[in-house]
């Protein structure tokens, strides 16, 4: 090929090479000064470069294939995540970017042709358009990414979306979504509305959503009852009581949390008590079962179970043990919260000044293990809260930290059943139309998209950001490469016998386009 009569690099109709030191040739008789010494000729240099770029492209395929394996494996295991999470992505942006990249691939390929034919102006134009398209692609990516950052639709433990993929506001762990969702409202230093507790996560392990069981509890505050001399107190009514007297007899039935006795020479009969405290001389306590006992040495104890055998020495009694004025709390209600339910009443808005007293306050009930917050109302010294029992069987009590109230999530109106009300006159042999409407796949997806994300949805965005991020970096590198080529093209470096860099950069650009051709349907167009 070297003997072929090449046009000199000034050829092709634009002979304005300003380089006076142009020493093309080096004894090889080539037109371009960019043919290196160690190649036989331009063809040899081009072929070597081309093999090199193809090996690099093969490496690129393997490089990206690791992420595609992650994608496929995760989609195989968790299809529900993909069908939910892809609705967060805007097909419009993905489609525009696909078209932009395809068009830039066309201009890149055309740039190669222009370089091969020595069309300098066309070459410069094609490279410029390619760069413009690449920057457009990155600009649209910027719009997409910044929206996701704003809405907390991010990777790993940073995934805490403000809205469901169907656009319904969600309650997030930290309530940092301004504007369109329920946020905590403060009044006189106390939260009056909104949810702010992050109870869905095992705090010891960031990023791991613990498998947990959630129960609603109601806590009541009360003061211990006073028991008159000779009277009988039912601990089922008030679990703590104080008895004051001298030489009297007190009887406690049921299971008591706390029995306090103040005085001398009393006889106290107890069925069961968790704690008994006696202050005074010569008192007698008869009980079936007592868990802990405080008193002085003159107290006589006849206890059948619990600490009776052997009875430990008495530790002495303090004033705090027999404080009958201090408020105690007791659990008055505990209800398991169903794993799946749409809404659940958590109490009436009694005495609420807002006017709709009859309306039940509701909170969204979430899948166990993704319990963003459960909120209750503080009324009449009662507190609502939740007990979270984690998969490790450790119970963590969140009942006192939550006293906010959720705004109810917007309701989706149920589609009216056109057949429910109608009487169907039937003749013999005719089949009745079934009023049951089986939801279509589309309707099911819409319903799912209105709810909270399924577990591990963050993984979709981990994969999404890894794939599109790596691809975006490739686009950025492409911009830099084409900028360099643009400068060289304007200097007139490229000639019909030296256009390798254009060809190789275009090949790289086509691979970047190729990867996006797969990323677009895999990420945006999930059905």
């Amino acid at each position: 090929m070297s003997e072929q009569p090449h046009a000199p690099h000034e050829g092709g109709g634009h002979g304005h090479d300003a380089h006076g030191h142009d020493d093309h040739g080096h004894g090889h008789g080539h037109g371009s000064r960019f043919i290196q010494h160690h190649y036989d000729d331009a063809q040899h240099q081009f072929d070597s470069g081309k093999l090199g770029i193809w090996l690099f492209l093969a490496q690129e395929v393997l490089f990206f294939s690791a992420l595609f394996v992650a994608y496929i494996l995760y989609r195989h295991h968790h299809p529900e995540i993909y069908s939910y999470a892809h609705k967060y992505l805007d097909v419009k942006y993905g489609a525009i970017n696909t078209a932009v990249l395809i068009f830039s691939s066309l201009t890149a390929a055309w740039a190669v042709r222009a370089a091969q034919l020595g069309q300098k102006k066309l070459l410069i134009g094609c490279i410029a358009v390619t760069i413009g398209c690449a920057l457009t692609f990155l600009g649209i990516k910027y719009i997409e990414y910044s929206h996701k950052i704003h809405e907390h639709i991010l990777f790993g433990r940073y995934f805490d979306p403000c809205v469901s993929s169907g656009g319904v506001p969600l309650l997030t762990k930290n309530n940092e979504c301004a504007g369109h969702k329920s946020t905590v409202e403060w009044k006189d230093g106390a939260a009056t509305a909104g949810c702010y507790q992050d109870i869905d996560q095992d705090l010891a392990m960031p990023g791991v959503q613990a498998d947990c069981k959630v129960e609603e509890v109601r806590i009541e505050l009360y003061k211990p009852a006073s028991v008159a001399a000779g009277a009988t107190h039912d601990c089922a009514k008030v679990p703590a009581a104080i008895a004051r007297g001298t030489g009297a007899t007190f009887t406690f039935t049921g299971t008591c949390d706390e029995v306090m006795v103040v005085g001398d020479g009393n006889t106290v009969r107890i069925d069961q008590a968790k704690k008994v405290a006696v202050k005074g001389q010569g008192n007698t306590v008869q009980a079936n079962a007592v868990d802990s006992f405080a008193g002085d040495a003159s107290t006589k104890r006849v206890i059948a179970k619990g600490i009776s055998n052997p009875q430990p020495a008495l530790a002495g009694v303090t004033d705090a043990d027999v404080d009958g004025d201090k408020e105690r709390s007791r659990e008055v209600k505990r209800t398991p919260i169903a794993a799946q339910c749409s809404e659940r009443a958590i109490g009436h808005a009694e005495g609420h000044e807002e006017g709709h007293e009859s309306a039940k306050q509701t909170y969204p009930c979430w899948r166990v293990g993704f319990q963003p917050a459960v909120c209750g109302r503080k009324a009449n010294k009662e507190q609502y809260g939740v007990i979270v029992e984690y998969g490790d069987h450790e119970e963590r009590d969140h009942s006192y930290r939550i006293d906010a109230q959720c705004k109810p999530t917007p309701k989706v109106d149920a589609p009216a059943d056109p057949l429910a009300e109608k009487v169907q006159p039937l003749k013999v042999g005719e089949k009745a139309l079934s009023p049951y409407h089986r939801p279509t796949t589309h309707e099911e997806h819409e319903l799912e998209a209105a709810g909270p994300p399924p577990e591990h949805t963050n993984m979709f965005f981990t994969i999404y950001f890894a794939m599109t991020g790596l691809h975006g970096i490739h686009v950025l590198v492409g911009v830099l490469v084409f900028l360099w080529l643009l400068i060289r093209a304007m200097k007139g470096h490229f000639t019909p016998d030296y256009f390798g860099p254009i060809d190789f950069a275009a090949l790289y650009w086509h691979i970047v386009d190729l990867i996006w051709i797969f990323l677009f349907p895999l990420l945006y167009l999930i059905h």
Partner: protein, 142 residues
């Protein structure tokens, strides 16, 4: 074989060209793609993009929709590789290099999917009875 740049330019751009002739035609160093091929490839790619977006809107079932999308993506990728990347006119060895990479990537995917059983512990629920889909506001009747 064209001997000068001017000749090729004229040759490729002349409207009455038999397309198949100059497809096999090489410039001094490498194959020059005709404008017809370039624009045709680009147009087909844009058209296929439109088709794949529209195909998603029709419910053929999740697996068939995925198969359609992937088939279109493979078709688009083939167009890019064959015409934009000149692999159709290029040395056969470059095709071998590229297909080796595709083969290796397929092996990665294939072997990973073969032993998916090894990854069961990543499920925190029983895969045979997965929890129901997340439930949002639910219709009160029906």
């Amino acid at each position: 074989m064209a001997s000068t740049a001017h000749h090729v330019d004229h040759h490729a751009a002349s409207p009455g060209d038999a397309g198949s002739d100059h497809h096999d035609e090489h410039h001094g160093i490498s194959h020059v793609a005709s404008i017809k091929v370039l624009v045709g490839t680009g147009g087909s790619l844009l058209l296929l993009t439109l088709v794949t977006v529209l195909a998603t809107k029709v419910d053929f079932g999740a697996n068939i929709n995925l198969a359609i999308a992937m088939a279109i993506a493979v078709l688009k990728a083939s167009l890019v590789i064959l015409f934009f990347m000149h692999l159709k006119y290029d040395k056969i060895f470059h095709t071998v290099v590229f297909l080796s990479a595709i083969l290796a990537a397929s092996l990665f995917v294939g072997f990973t999917l073969m032993d998916t059983g090894q990854y069961q512990h990543t499920n925190i629920w029983n895969p045979d009875s997965p929890p129901a889909a997340p439930v949002g506001p639910r219709p009160t009747t029906g």
